[in-house]
Symmetry: C2
């Protein structure tokens, strides 16, 4: 059987950075060629970054993507790498496409190119365009219809892009017919909790269907609300994992495969030509031992996703430091711990903003957090500012509570504007779901790292992070009392979250069923939840849509996160009545 | 030729309000039947409101929509209206649809039903699902594939829904083959500037293609960022307008048509049955004189759209009054005028919030606005609150300017929370495009009425509104000096918008080309714009995406408005280099 050494480059591109992304491709191809790779593959739309959203419809960007592709091909050859085929994702388009209502302008395609000898020798356009969850690809791309197979050292390699693999009856059936020896799939597949298990099973199933080995290369890194986890992998034709990259870091996965020799024909069953790059199998060589990264448990996986997403949001937006309110509570403590892990304590600025309702333990816990991690801490008492508003406006009740939160928001934004730190909002998914937050108050921020993390998971991740530190002989970053105390917004004397909300364990269960699984009130009551509680939580959730719309972007880790995923009208009279 | 009296019910439903929308249908059907109508038609998805977004995927909502449909059918019959066929839009679904990746859950359909004799006698599901601009229908619906024709008093009436009409080669071709006498199209077609002309031409073209008369019934009213303008119309088979409803108000358009008699066959050319409701033509009767509403000029049309959108956003969200900052400048003056026209002066609360940098004319113009319109005005000087922050934080430069805007935001939100008014943000499209606003400051608000109105159009609409008042012998609502003075944010001594921005006439031209038409820097320079100015404006626009994401919703009046239409990554390194 012919051998092939494959390099899967799990890299972290930035949307729109055609120059930087091209540089990534060249640099990793050098590394792959030095490692003896015969075929190098990069993720979906690596040259443009992903998702590019409306940039896909901009003629100048379409042309720039194509120009960047040709320039990378030439540069690889100039730098002595032209002999190794390299597969890259990019934005293609049809320059001559006529304008047509409902067809994206310029007929953009989510495409893959095979670069060899300084040229683009083969192209493939994604067949299946996902338009659910975080994906809007019908808006941006036209579908490809043709198969692409390249022959490399006597092995036929078929190409596919991301969703092509997920759809039953996708190009996999055609691959089986074509008799290809390897199905190479390039991906921009965002992280969701536990998606790695699903992905491995999918690759195994499709490899068995195609009757050949399958190589899956994924992007890594944060892009706005998405975080790509990498998890590139190779399975053999029985679906067994041969090699696998870690999650949440860049990697170059090098793997030697024994693959079936290509047939005589240089045409596919449908008559399309196979692009023959090198028809003859290599002489046998000693294969490397493949690496298989061990996958982590759920808490570590989620925590790592949050750290990477925050780091990239800050870095890719041109910031290097962050500022956040440190209340002494668990939400801001977890966000601070994530920020310290992402950016280093020297780049994290905490602000304690006590009011007359703040307890001593809140102040102490904020100070303890700073002492444990080394983050910068300052204290700004809010009384004088609150008083200045109160004496003009005379606010009471909820308006007075919100005022305190908004004064804190103004302070954080003032420090941000003055010193250049990006503001982090510290709200969690449970409170955001039910609207238990102050718009323009604690919702202030450029990024909300735990926006998609339910309160019960906030505690779990905090406990995990501290335990991990203890295991390693380090100081646990989060004050234990921040984890154990009763949650309170401290906006009025003796206030507790449970004055307004059910216990978080129950609340999170209801929200998971309602938000993630779209169950009805009747379904929830049938499961045994108290009907009054169900109606109360659902009503709070239904009416909080407006606040959610104006909440800052945050890391998406669940299938139906708030933000790009869940899309509800603001004005809606629909109520679940059960 | 058989006659038919058609009633097109141009109504204003609310998303999710199944009970209220059903009530609308029953009430207007009574009215139509009293007027002698033989066929009554309501807009696309009138029972659920439109667009329902993720509600379409919720099983309980799908079932509730179907139940509402059957209940309306029964109620119409119970109330003696069962003899008149009524066409209503609703959300249908396939209860038995198996879950499949990429297919919306429950296989929802954007559907029309014909109600007669207490029952649903025919159904039609939209064939063409728009997924561009404000539309995301691939995410929410599965396509219909079948034609539906009902025979009413000896005339064959073919059904279609909205996008079916816009697509070349849509169901219109099948209508021509079927020999139907009338094509009835139900719509939820949002307003855009000058779309009424386009719509009339489209209806004329399709009528000629189908070889039959065409009746077009559209929704009216505001729904979140969209405003539906009505503009229902009927054209004959030559494309001549027979009757037309006004824009921006509810209407019941009654029109008598002479239509070709149906053939003998009760099957369509593809073998599908025609639903025969009443096979025999009516005895001749005296036709009513059709009404053709005159359409208004561009300024009046836009202004009316803004008034209706604001009124419905406030009303449908359960508010009755609004509060806004009145700076004396033109933006807040126009928003106040719109609010007074939408809600009445007694429901508009203006707040003058002078600082040390506020000019006397600003205070005077705010007072003049109140005197002219009768809106409530109070004054809250911001110095003490600004000082309270300054003495703690010592902000300078832009941070100090933003602080003033944020103090005003906190004041407006405090009043809103205390008194229950909805806050209006007064920013215009030009400043939003280039990021010339303070996030959590002047961007505070639940609704931004002129978010999609360029600054030059703000002046034009203000001038138009005052001239209209003068024509009618009323007091022009907007202080003339607010229109004529140089724009200034008044956040530092002597500040003018032109310190930071080009003249608005030039800026708006560049923005129109860049935002609405996606031209490149090179295209703009080729048109004769100064290259430095082009690069400066494009860079400001490219980097303001983050602010735009957190800006409140606002009325959409242009094809590529900010908000639901224009979708760009926040993190993007792409720069137009020209």
């Amino acid at each position: 059987m012919p051998q092939l050494r494959l390099a899967l480059a799990q890299v972290n591109p930035t949307v729109g950075d055609l120059v930087g992304n091209a540089e990534l491709v060249v640099r990793r191809t050098h590394e792959a060629v030095r490692a003896g790779a015969h075929l190098v593959a990069f993720p979906e739309m690596v040259l443009t970054g992903y998702p590019v959203e409306d940039l896909a419809l901009r003629r100048s960007f379409q042309r720039a993507s194509r120009a960047a592709l040709h320039s990378v091909a030439a540069r690889l050859a100039d730098e002595g790498l032209g002999g190794t085929p390299v597969v890259v994702g990019y934005l293609d388009h049809d320059e001559a496409a006529a304008a047509q209502l409902g067809v994206p302008r310029g007929a953009p395609m989510n495409a893959a190119a095979v670069l060899h000898g300084g040229r683009v020798v083969a192209r493939y356009a994604k067949h299946h365009l996902p338009n659910y969850g975080v994906f809007d690809e019908f808006r941006y791309f036209v579908s490809g219809t043709r198969q692409t197979v390249v022959r490399v050292h006597g092995v036929d390699v078929a190409l596919a892009i991301c969703e092509d693999l997920w759809q039953d009856g996708g190009p996999v059936a055609a691959v089986a017919e074509s008799g290809a020896g390897l199905l190479l799939v390039i991906n921009g597949s965002p992280y969701e909790s536990d998606k790695d298990d699903l992905r491995r099973e999918l690759c195994a199933t499709r490899a068995r269907e195609a009757g050949c080995a399958l190589a899956y290369v994924n992007m890594v890194g944060g892009q706005d609300e998405l975080v790509f986890d990498g998890d590139s992998l190779v399975v053999d034709l029985r679906g067994e994992v041969v090699s696998r990259a870690p999650q949440f870091e860049e990697a170059l996965l090098i793997v030697d495969l024994d693959l079936p020799a290509a047939g005589e024909s240089t045409r596919l069953p449908d008559g399309e030509p196979i692009t023959v790059i090198s028809p003859i199998a290599l002489p046998p060589y000693a294969a490397l031992t493949p690496t298989i990264a061990t996958h982590t448990d759920r808490d570590e996986e989620t925590y790592s996703a949050l750290v990477l997403a925050l780091r990239d949001y800050v870095r890719k937006n041109g910031f290097s430091s962050v500022v956040l309110g440190l209340s002494g509570g668990i939400d801001s403590a977890l966000v601070a711990a994530i920020a310290v892990d992402a950016l280093g304590a020297e780049n994290v600025y905490g602000v304690s903003m006590p009011s007359v309702h703040s307890s001593q333990h809140s102040r102490d816990d904020a100070a303890d957090m700073a002492a444990r991690t080394g983050l910068h801490l300052r204290s700004v008492a809010i009384a004088s500012m609150v008083d200045a508003f109160e004496s003009e406006l005379g606010l009471t009740g909820l308006a007075a509570e919100n005022l305190q939160a908004r004064v804190r928001g103004v302070i954080l934004m003032g420090i941000s504007n003055q010193e250049g730190h990006l503001v982090l909002a510290t709200g969690n998914k449970s409170e955001l779901a039910v609207g238990y937050s102050t718009i323009y108050g604690d919702a202030v921020g450029a990024f909300a790292p735990i926006k998609d993390v339910a309160k019960t998971r906030v505690w779990a991740l905090s406990t995990w992070r501290n335990a991990r530190a203890a295991e390693r002989g380090q100081t646990p970053p989060i004050p234990p009392s921040s984890i154990t105390k009763e949650p309170s917004a401290e906006l009025r004397p003796g206030q507790l979250d449970t004055d307004s909300l059910p216990d978080y364990a129950v609340l999170d269960d209801v929200l998971d069923d309602y938000v993630e699984h779209d169950l009805s009130a009747a379904d929830l009551i049938a499961q045994g939840f108290d009907p009054d509680l169900v109606h109360r939580v659902l009503r709070l959730t239904d009416t909080a849509e407006y606040k959610r719309r104006q909440y800052p972007p945050g890391t998406k880790i669940s299938p139906r996160a708030f933000g790009r995923d869940r899309r509800l009208p603001i004005t809606s009279r629909w109520r679940e009545e059960g």
